[in-house]
């Protein structure tokens, strides 16, 4: 009975409220003395001032890696490992649902998408060839996010390039705005490198709004955090599973997928269906009409499963609107 209720849940609304909750937690949680630490596997931006409820792991990671090599390869490595373990533990709980449910920047993109649909503007999709090319970018960014601070520590790059990803991450510019802090919307002429990075950051921020308006979850596609997640996703507790035998390949899941992951519809041989671009929003599960073809499991226990009934309930809700 409970299971039936869960599987028939209005995922859209559930997600909206949960995302809002996480957004408030990460941006304003500090006001309520919430502090989830500095190793969160999601863009809880550290540039949000004292009101933040936690800090995105990429900020301390880059900080830690940019210390001089002498220190990094002695006791400082312990700090790096400790933070990484903490990050991994957080991550293992929700897997990539950190992206689909918790990430404030992701939530913001969903709000922009909601605005676009209100305005009646259609969304864009990548062509498959473009998708295959662009999907590599996040790994390149992840490599740079790790290698550039290391190069700083080795004296190969100026100190101001110690947090290269934060410099260009639109979260740094946008999320502090929610606390009235506009100080990140600047170009920093202090050094050549900061000038280039902050200008690039602002350019990307502008592009972020333009992109997110026409493309669902525009930025997630390039997110190095998403790449890092994927590398660790195997042992995570929350998992997305597919029973290929039950799949009719109707493509409903692919249709609703914000990340345009074709494998979710076409792949029928691998139960571990989660791809690197996946944000584990579970929209695919909610849009699957075949009983048990797609499911979300937590520690092996099915928590949300595609059902014919659930599908009809949700789709009829959409169709009955207006």
């Amino acid at each position: 009975m409970i299971r039936q209720w869960v599987n028939g849940i209005d995922l859209r609304r559930f997600r909206f409220w949960l995302q809002l909750g996480f957004f408030v937690l990460f941006i304003y949680g500090g006001y309520a003395a919430v502090n989830l630490g500095n190793s969160l596997p999601t863009f809880a931006c550290g540039f949000v001032g004292e009101s933040r409820g936690g800090v995105c792991y990429l900020l301390p990671l880059q900080h830690q890696l940019s210390v001089p090599w002498q220190r990094l390869f002695s006791w400082a490595i312990l700090g790096v490992l400790e933070a990484f373990v903490l990050f991994a533990l957080w991550f293992f709980v929700l897997n990539k649902a950190w992206c689909g449910y918790a990430c404030p920047l992701g939530t913001l993109q969903d709000w922009i998408t909601a605005l676009r649909t209100r305005l009646g503007v259609r969304f864009s999709r990548y062509r498959e060839a473009a998708f295959r090319r662009l999907t590599v970018i996040k790994y390149v960014l992840l490599a740079l996010t790790i290698l550039m601070p290391l190069a700083v520590g080795g004296g190969l790059l100026p100190h101001s390039l110690g947090t290269p990803f934060c410099d260009i991450c639109p979260g740094r510019m946008i999320l502090p705005l929610f606390t009235g802090d506009t100080s990140q919307l600047t170009v920093n002429f202090a050094e050549k490198s900061t000038m280039i990075m902050t200008a690039l950051g602002m350019l990307i921020t502008g592009g972020f709004f333009a992109g997110a308006f026409v493309k669902k979850r525009f930025f997630c596609f390039f997110c190095p955090m998403s790449a890092l997640h994927y590398l660790l996703s195997r042992p995570a507790l929350l998992q997305l599973r597919k029973d290929g035998d039950k799949c009719t390949r109707c493509g409903d899941c692919y249709r609703v997928c914000d990340m345009e992951i074709k494998e979710i519809a076409d792949e029928v041989n691998t139960p571990r269906i989660m791809q690197d671009d996946c944000i584990l929003c579970l929209k695919c599960v909610s849009a699957c009409p075949e009983d048990g073809a797609l499911k979300a499991t937590f520690a092996g226990i099915t928590i949300f499963e595609a059902t014919e009934q659930g599908f009809m309930k949700r789709m009829n809700k959409g169709a009955a609107g207006d």
């Binding site: 919307l185 200008a199 592009g207 709004f209 333009a210």
Partner: protein, 322 residues
């Protein structure tokens, strides 16, 4: 022989000079580069790493009003420091015998502000000169976390100090705050903990620019830190540190004898040095930032728009080139 005479003369001259009018103050800027190499730049100034993650602070006694040119007092004029740690516990380290300049070295183990006092009394021309050189030493390491910063922020003073300068905190100041060009800083002049009205307070910047005001009824004196750093942009260093020195003097009619020397008047002189940096306003530009952001937004938006318009021409993706 000649050089010796020159140095002897210079030394005599300086000693005599400071004895006459030059204010004494405490600075953490080392006099020689060899020492600088042993120190590490941290939040709040230089720190000397000790064994097993401990840290020490070194302070030098200097004489002269302009922090940029003030000389270092020779070792002969040492004495006991009074150090109050962030928890309020007092200690009295003696002068460090090494080196040729008068300086002190003491451990800084706790997070927060240490208040350091060096008090000297001397009778000259039937006037008692009481000089209180104060330093406010911040010890902060980001690894200790930032959970309990605000409780450690309020400035402290001691009731048994005859004249003392206390820097009031800026709005929302924390351990990471750096004073910058254009900031208005407020100092309170306190005598035995009670505010002193009408005291003469002078702030001198590195290059010798100075401003003198009188403290108001609550003992407050306000200064705006002026820009005192005009390099070419190519040489500009946004971390450029410069010191300012604040001197407060108060004359009273107190009379008595000190070590057998009678005096009819008393002059109290309190000093407090600080450091400030180029303001972010000097090198961060909203205009450029927002222009580039808007460019990114409009360029991205226009690009997407045009692309979507053009995409109505179907099946043109294969092109042939001769």
């Amino acid at each position: 022989m000649r050089t010796f005479r020159f140095w002897a003369l210079l030394c005599l001259a300086t000693c005599a000079h400071y004895a006459a009018a030059e204010p004494l103050w405490l600075s953490d800027e080392p006099p020689d580069p060899a020492m600088t190499a042993r120190l590490r730049s941290a939040h709040g100034g230089w720190l000397e790493p000790g064994p097993r993650g401990t840290f020490f602070k070194r302070l030098w006694l200097r004489a002269g009003e302009a922090p940029g040119t003030a000389g270092y007092v020779v070792a002969a004029t040492g004495g006991e420091l009074l150090v109050q740690d962030p928890a309020g516990v007092h200690s009295t380290p003696s002068a460090d015998p090494t080196g040729k300049h008068s300086h002190w070295r003491f451990p800084v183990a706790q997070e927060g502000f240490y208040d350091v006092y060096l008090t000297r009394r001397q009778v000259r021309d039937t006037r008692l000169h009481v000089s209180v050189a104060k330093a406010e030493v911040l010890k902060h390491s980001c690894r200790e976390g930032h959970d309990d910063v605000q409780s450690k922020m309020p400035p402290k003073h001691l009731a048994d100090i005859p004249l003392e300068l206390v820097r009031e905190r800026l709005h929302k100041e924390d351990f990471h705050t750096r004073l910058g060009f254009g900031d208005t800083v407020t100092f309170r002049v306190l005598a035995h903990g009670a505010p002193v009205a009408g005291a003469e307070v002078t702030l001198t910047t590195a290059s010798g620019w100075r401003n003198t005001v009188h403290s108001d009824a609550e003992g407050r004196a306000r200064f705006t830190l002026v820009r005192d750093y005009f390099p070419d942009w190519a040489d500009f260093d946004y971390r450029h540190r410069q010191d300012f020195l604040v001197v407060a003097t108060r004359d009273t009619d107190e009379s008595g004898t000190l070590d057998g020397a009678p005096y009819a008047r008393t002059r109290y002189q309190a000093t407090l040095a600080g450091q400030y940096h180029p303001s972010s306003r000097d090198y961060q530009s909203y205009a450029y930032g927002l222009t580039i952001g808007l460019f990114g937004l409009s360029f991205g938006g226009l690009g997407a728009y045009i692309y979507r318009r053009r995409r109505t021409r179907p099946f043109r993706e294969v092109r042939f080139h001769d």
